[in-house]
Amino acid sequence: MIQEIHSFKKEIDHIPVPHDKLDAIITKTVQEAGAGQRTGIRKKMGYVAGAAAVACGLLLGSAALSPAMASLVSKIPVIGSVFSQIGDSGLKSVSEQGLTAAVGATKVSGGDSLTINEVFYDGTRLSIGYSLETEKPLGEEYIIMRTDFTVNGTEAKFSARDKLTEVTPTYHTGILELDSPAKLPDQFELGLNLSTEDRVKKWDFAIPVSKQADNKLIPIGHKQQSGGVELTVSDLVVGPAGMRLAFSAVSEDQDSVDYLSVTAVDESGHELGSLSGGTGSKFRDGKYYSTGTQLFDRPPAGTKTLTFTPHEASGRVKFDSFTVTLP
């Protein structure tokens, strides 16, 4: 044991480091965040600053009004506008088509107000747009926002991705993207508790959610075996704000089925952006059984075929690509 602990550092230092990717991330993150800082509109990677600029101008314009009026006016420009401005093409599209539901509910905790602006749900995506107005610039307690959920009053577990965009140091807009909405009913009440990392500030919401659009189920049933992994890609669900691929895998090696991901390329060679995804595995009779989903951007209009290539994180297992014809 002592010997093994001594080799701890050595073994970790053997983990290969993708230097090129790290360097690119450092440069891009600093450039983008820095550019935002110079104009007073910082933004997070992967989002455009358009919404920030619009909301910022209107918010600053409201500052000369009475506090009550300023508070009221400050909500107006962001209700229903987060999705259309945040830089997610799928959400922008459904927002423009009027397929999202405006909420406009505000709660205040410790002087900081959080407004749920807009919700979109279609069975492939469950996305919540919100804005956060704070008395002081965001401190460390906001670096990580905690989330807890209920569905019709019963505790529910989701993988929630939170993307926050700075408009001003005291005003932010964000998107909460909840994975795995497939098993949810067409209509339900989503209980959402957001809190700061230290749980000092908390905001509770009960958000009525109803399916806003239909989606299309495309059965795939693709199977292949590689490196001891049996992979099945069952279906693709295409909605107006994205598409979700469902797959499962079986192997005696847990890592080979726990960290699967898929890339999607259309017939013109354009790779679709991947919005989120995840897998979970179960051990049974000497093998690990995993199920997973991956959410992609919606393919461009007129796309006829999509070629999917599964990947295993370590690169030890190589999978073949396969093509799906869209109806």
Binding site: M1, I12, D23, T27, M45, Q254
Partner: protein, 182 residues
């Protein structure tokens, strides 16, 4: 050539070149720490990116420039643990999938684990203190500062973490390393 002591105050004043130089100094250890939590490159890169973004955004609020490295490490750990917690919730909508996670840990073939795999399966609180102690070479006091908890808690978690690790590594020598490392 600028030293860390020179670069941190410059980065705190908003110098992006100084900030980048600091991150380049730390990037390998940051990425490997992230990898130990996430266990795959894609998620480790995402955690790394989040860490760089959060650090850039909040470095002006760093209380003491001497603590840059520990402060950065704290952001990475919080980001990784938050990411793991959120992603673990993905399967819990269906009870049978929630069951998966428990099973997969219970049935881990422990006798086949190597050291890194074994550490990867530890509870986060044990994994974190062991990484900080034996990979980052932090003192108990530094770990307590990073995790914002009493030194006694750190010591307890290192003891328990080593004990759990020892049980996972079946067949390894049963020497008690605790006093040697604390």
């Amino acid at each position: 050539m600028s030293t860390t002591a020179d670069l941190v105050p410059r980065a705190m004043r908003g110098d992006p070149d100084a900030f980048q130089a600091l991150i380049h100094e730390e990037k390998e250890k940051l990425y490997r720490m992230a990898y130990m939590y996430m266990r795959n490159e894609a998620d480790a890169l995402e955690v790394f990116q989040e860490t760089v973004y959060k650090a850039f955004k909040s470095i002006s609020s760093l209380q003491n420039s001497r603590y840059f490295s520990t402060w950065l490490t704290r952001i990475l750990i919080n980001t990784a643990i938050s990411y793991l917690k959120k992603n673990r919730k993905i399967t819990a909508m269906s009870p049978e999938v929630l069951e998966h996670i428990g099973d997969s840990y219970q049935h881990q073939p422990e006798d086949q684990l190597d050291l890194l795999q074994a550490i990867g399966t530890l509870e986060e609180k044990y994994k974190t203190v062991l990484l900080l102690r034996y990979y980052k070479d932090y003192s108990l006091k530094q770990i307590a500062e990073v995790l914002d908890c009493p030194e006694g808690t750190v010591k307890t978690n290192i003891h328990r973490g080593l004990s759990v690790l020892r049980n996972k590594l079946k067949g390894a020598a049963c020497d008690d390393p605790r006093d040697s490392f604390l």
